[in-house]
Symmetry: C2
Subunit: 350 residues, 2 copies
């Protein structure tokens, strides 16, 4: 199939406004440059090597992936500095990780001794070196550990010939985590363990970068496209959102209610204020429900209502999960389609 | 990669218990047989031709898909009786639909005149015949129309040389829709328009089949696997649920809290009672939050808590959306992997 303009596209299709994406890439890079820290884009938002390459060309230092299988796609595409901010657990995964580390610089994060030991054994068997950061627990109460334990983990990492201690990671990196970070850095300094990298991340962290002067790098994914979550949190405006899902009206039989051909399989099922997406052409319309292939829209607050066959554009609540639902993204400049990307690292869960 | 038993699998992986799946297929077929109606499995739940073939071998009559692109996969795989219970809108889609109708019996549903006219034009251009049912609106207030309008649509369908009126469709098919269905059937009879099929559907409809004696066929997808939604609604028990997501513990640093490697990218973000899945080994554990690659589990109500590296099995809230997230499903009998299926119709949104 060939597509010359967005009007040739089937719906639902995911459009990326190239002007906005390029501006977003430049803005984030210059913010990191101004602070003197490295920008390491998280590829989870786009899952596309060509977009990561544009981020590197703008000045980014390496990339972050969330899965070994994603890292494999990017190493195959020529990327040689990959961070996986995740506890890699299980013999098959650690074996694949150690194999990757033969051809690229691979950095992972850990928050417990069993995770270190599993990776160390695989690195030893492969004869490769894996870089390892310790993760501190944050307000999000997800993964991560305490400052005391972080020191113990750093020492254990340092004791292996196949691991290299690479620093400290926090997610999200905000002012709340700073006391714990400072305590950890103090303990490491007292133990004479050098800290190469202090890695922060999270969309919110973008606004708080200057509150954590200890950071040496920032991992963020969403900033390449932004989304309604970002707008709602004040990180961006709707005018910055580069991703839009092009959708068609397939039913309009009831006053004020329209059904779109885009449901949870296209725009996902996450919500903001009970809404599943923001319709650019009808800002007061509300996508109040989704099934897999249907989006239910309330147009009662709008002056007019679209008819069957009319096309609308939806800014999704959360771009990363939308990318993961689609096999292609369409890069458009104005109405012209300039590039069709396969989402190469889509659906990679291992 | 070769996998001989489930213990060889990476996590997260989606297991299908073949004994349970086969029992589920047999049960649904025999319930339809007992009522004297056709069973038309909706493939949205598995998206895999081999599973649909097993359903046909058990006695099912044709299949239902939700998208033209899904129908294309199944026609390529040799299926010749395909229903798409959806308003197919847009010139590219109707052209592909009309092309499919040259090699398979294709039935769609419609709820408005513009949808009929678009499909009729494509069928005429292709010289093919498309079967068409009218959809009645139900309590769900999604697509569908009124009895009076259904009659008008049936007459319009009948007026085209390239369309064939195939009957009436309702979703979900429950007792509440019966007055509207009876009125429609009465209007069609008075107009001397024969009704070949009255098609019902929805997991809930399975329990209400005998309350709608007018049905001649039943479309249901979820009954092949069942899921927590089905259990919650009383359609099945956990012991009937054939799909389980195999997940690993990757962090266990806090009392009562464990982090799994399975988040919204693996088990989806739909919930029941604020929970994102049911852990078979720990029935009182609560998956209370997900990020894309993390599942947060509260084990405070459990007698014990798993350690890093331990594997658990999750019955998902909604199987269809889980299937759509994965590239493979693993069919297991006991611990042995008997078949690895590519999810051929995964991610097809057009």
């Amino acid at each position: 199939m060939t597509f010359e303009t967005i009007h040739d596209l089937e719906t639902p299709s995911v459009l990326i406004d190239l002007d906005l994406m390029e501006a977003n890439i430049a803005v984030m890079q210059s913010r990191c440059d101004a602070l003197g820290i490295a920008f390491r884009p998280h590829i989870k938002t786009h899952k596309i090597p060509d977009i990561a390459r544009r981020q590197l060309e703008a000045g980014a230092k390496g990339i972050a992936c969330q899965k070994v299988s994603e890292a494999e796609v990017f190493v195959d595409a020529g990327f040689d500095d990959i961070q996986i901010p995740y506890n890699i657990v299980g013999a098959r995964k650690t074996r694949r990780l150690a194999a990757l580390a033969k051809t690229a610089k691979v950095t992972v994060t850990v928050d417990s001794q069993p995770v270190i030991d599993g990776i160390a054994a695989a690195a030893q068997a492969a004869g490769s070196t894996i870089h390892m950061m310790v993760e501190l627990v944050s307000l999000g109460q997800r993964t991560g550990t305490t400052p005391e334990d972080a020191l113990a983990l750093a020492q254990r990492i340092g004791a292996s010939d196949y691991l290299r201690f690479a620093g400290v990671m926090v997610y999200p990196s905000d002012a709340a985590v700073r006391p714990r970070l400072l305590e950890t850095l103090g303990l490491l300094e007292a133990a004479e363990i050098p800290v190469e990298t202090v890695s922060g991340g999270g969309s919110g962290a973008v606004s708080a970068m200057d509150q954590l002067p200890e950071l040496t790098e920032m991992r963020v994914g969403t900033c390449v496209f932004w989304d309604w979550n970002s707008v709602s949190a004040g990180y961006a405006g709707f005018d910055d959102c580069a991703m839009r899902v092009r959708a068609s009206v397939v039913s309009a039989n009831a006053p004020g209610r329209v059904i779109l051909d885009s449901g949870s399989k296209s725009i996902n099922s996450e919500t903001i204020d009970g809404q599943f997406g923001y319709i650019v052409e009808y800002p007061t319309a509300r996508i109040y429900k989704v099934n897999e292939e249907h989006g239910y829209v309330d147009f009662s607050a709008c002056e007019s209502m679209p008819a069957v066959g009319e096309i609308v554009h939806i800014i999704p609540v959360h771009t990363c999960v939308v990318t993961n639902l689609h096999n292609q993204l369409f890069g458009a400049r104005g109405d012209n389609i300039e590039v069709i990307w396969d989402v190469s690292a889509r659906g990679l869960v291992w």
